[in-house]
Subunit: 299 residues, 2 copies
């Protein structure tokens, strides 16, 4: 970001229910819709919006496929898909984008998620957009308990809701089961949202500091559970990893424990930090955890 | 139970996946199927069995309706239902029962469940069968950390899987999200199963003590979340209750917190103990928690 540019942010969307069984964002959006003053700021408009309304109604992650993997430019230009989410993604792209257009309906989106993994309060960024990273650095300064994860699961053409407008971040909080509300996670998520809105207000007034670096957990690799040839899981997360978000592991440390009780160690040569361990929705995607590097990056 | 009767137990079923997204029981049953010696005893046969195989395949609680509410005698005699579980329940009744018959395929069933609620390791009994209660008392003696919950949600005609053969218990462990395995819950559930099998082996040999009383949590009432007239939840479990299974509450203690942050107190005149607080599957059933009395009952 050019530290002297101050293209103002006019419209911010707070989106919930991109996964229909992650109740925290859904109920937070509904609370903001009932009382818009709760997210009101002077210099911009805040739009609380539910995204996967079909999945929300069913209290399932999705109806036919993961909505949060349908917003790549190539997917948005493909009209052949028959899934509910293939249609819905075009509708949401109109309401938040269109993605890649010079003029978009929304300038910045904050997409609200939860996870069964011990991620605490976290931000997930999959963008190189400088403003999104300045926001993340501000949140980290104001709320040091928040961790920042840089996702590289997509290569280039990012498919998240947060990738539709020019600026976007995802909030991930956990551990919390699917289909459940927890007061601590609910109000914790709101604190992150309010901090982001505070930054945007200050940014619009030209009253922000420019951050030159921030500490992140950087995506290195996804690791699956040990499985049989038929795909059945044969081991679980080791208790040293479970409930121990952001834990550092090195070669030989316990990683899994088989259904018979045998420990399976981490075999990598490099020490890593473990994120997104034991997220329910990732069993079908085929990964048990994400290995990351902890580093400071220049902004 | 007549303490001198020793009608031997010949066949014990360990059932998992009655709810298809409760992975602990499913994987424990599969582990027992792969290595039957793990649950082998000299005096009886152990049959590990998956029940709602359609829901297991989908990783959902059920396909069309809750299988664990389909085993009342009246439901089993009704052939008009079109749900998957209406058909499946008749099949399972043949394999474990038939319920109410003088001769049943299985003598005793242990049905394995998990909950998102902080229930720890628990047994749920909905029967007056003396042998089932002797087993529960034995488990409580050997594993004092296990709590016993007497369920009275059904009136008379019990509809659980555990009600099909003459003798039956349900194991409930939590907190654990739906769709997730945890090593502690997995091996904790197995410890309870092994303890039950140990009792049955001793019982068949006539080597058991007769318990005359046991401490239980006795079902008093189900309490729903505060909701709008349209059924939308307006409050969450208060943090004093969340993660605090079996907590004693009295009039004026915090029970819920609204989405705006206002505390809603418990209004009952009688002190109670809170169980099954914040179970994901009970949002749709319309209850947030179960109020119970803690008491010692005569066996």
């Amino acid at each position: 970001m050019d530290r002297h540019s101050h293209q103002p942010i006019k419209k911010v969307a707070i989106t919930g229910g991109t996964h229909g069984n992650e109740l925290t964002g859904i109920h937070l959006v509904r609370a903001f819709q009932s009382d818009p003053r709760r997210v009101e700021r002077e210099s911009f408009e805040t739009v609380p919006m539910l995204t996967n309304i079909g999945a929300i109604e069913r209290v399932t992650r999705y109806v036919d496929k993961d909505l949060n993997r349908t917003f790549s430019l190539s997917a948005l230009e493909d009209y052949s898909g028959t899934a509910y989410e293939d249609a819905l993604s075009k509708v949401i792209n109109q309401r938040l984008g269109p993605k890649g257009a010079g003029e978009t309906a929304i300038d910045l989106v904050v997409d609200l998620h939860t996870t069964t993994s011990d991620m605490g309060l976290s931000l997930v960024l999959s963008t190189t957009d400088p403003l999104s990273w300045q926001i993340a650095a501000y949140v980290k300064e104001k709320m040091p308990e928040v961790n920042i994860f840089r996702w590289k699961g997509d290569t280039g053409d990012v498919s998240f809701v947060s990738s539709i407008p020019p600026h976007g971040l995802t909030i991930e909080v956990g551990p919390i089961p699917q289909g459940v509300l927890r007061a601590d996670m609910f109000f914790g998520t709101e604190r992150v949202v309010q901090t982001i809105l505070d930054y945007i207000e200050a940014y619009n007034r030209g009253e922000v500091d420019f951050y030159t670096e921030v500490e992140i957990y950087d995506h290195v690799a996804l690791v699956d559970y040990p499985r049989t040839e038929q795909g059945e899981i044969t081991a679980m997360l080791h208790p040293d990893i479970q409930d121990n978000g952001y834990v550092r592991i090195e070669k030989g440390d316990p990683l899994f424990v088989t259904l018979e009780g045998k420990t399976v160690p981490y075999e990598g040569d490099e020490p890593r930090y473990v994120l997104f361990a034991n997220e329910a929705a990732y069993y079908e995607k085929g990964f048990a955890l994400c290995l990351t590097d902890k580093k400071s990056i220049a902004l």
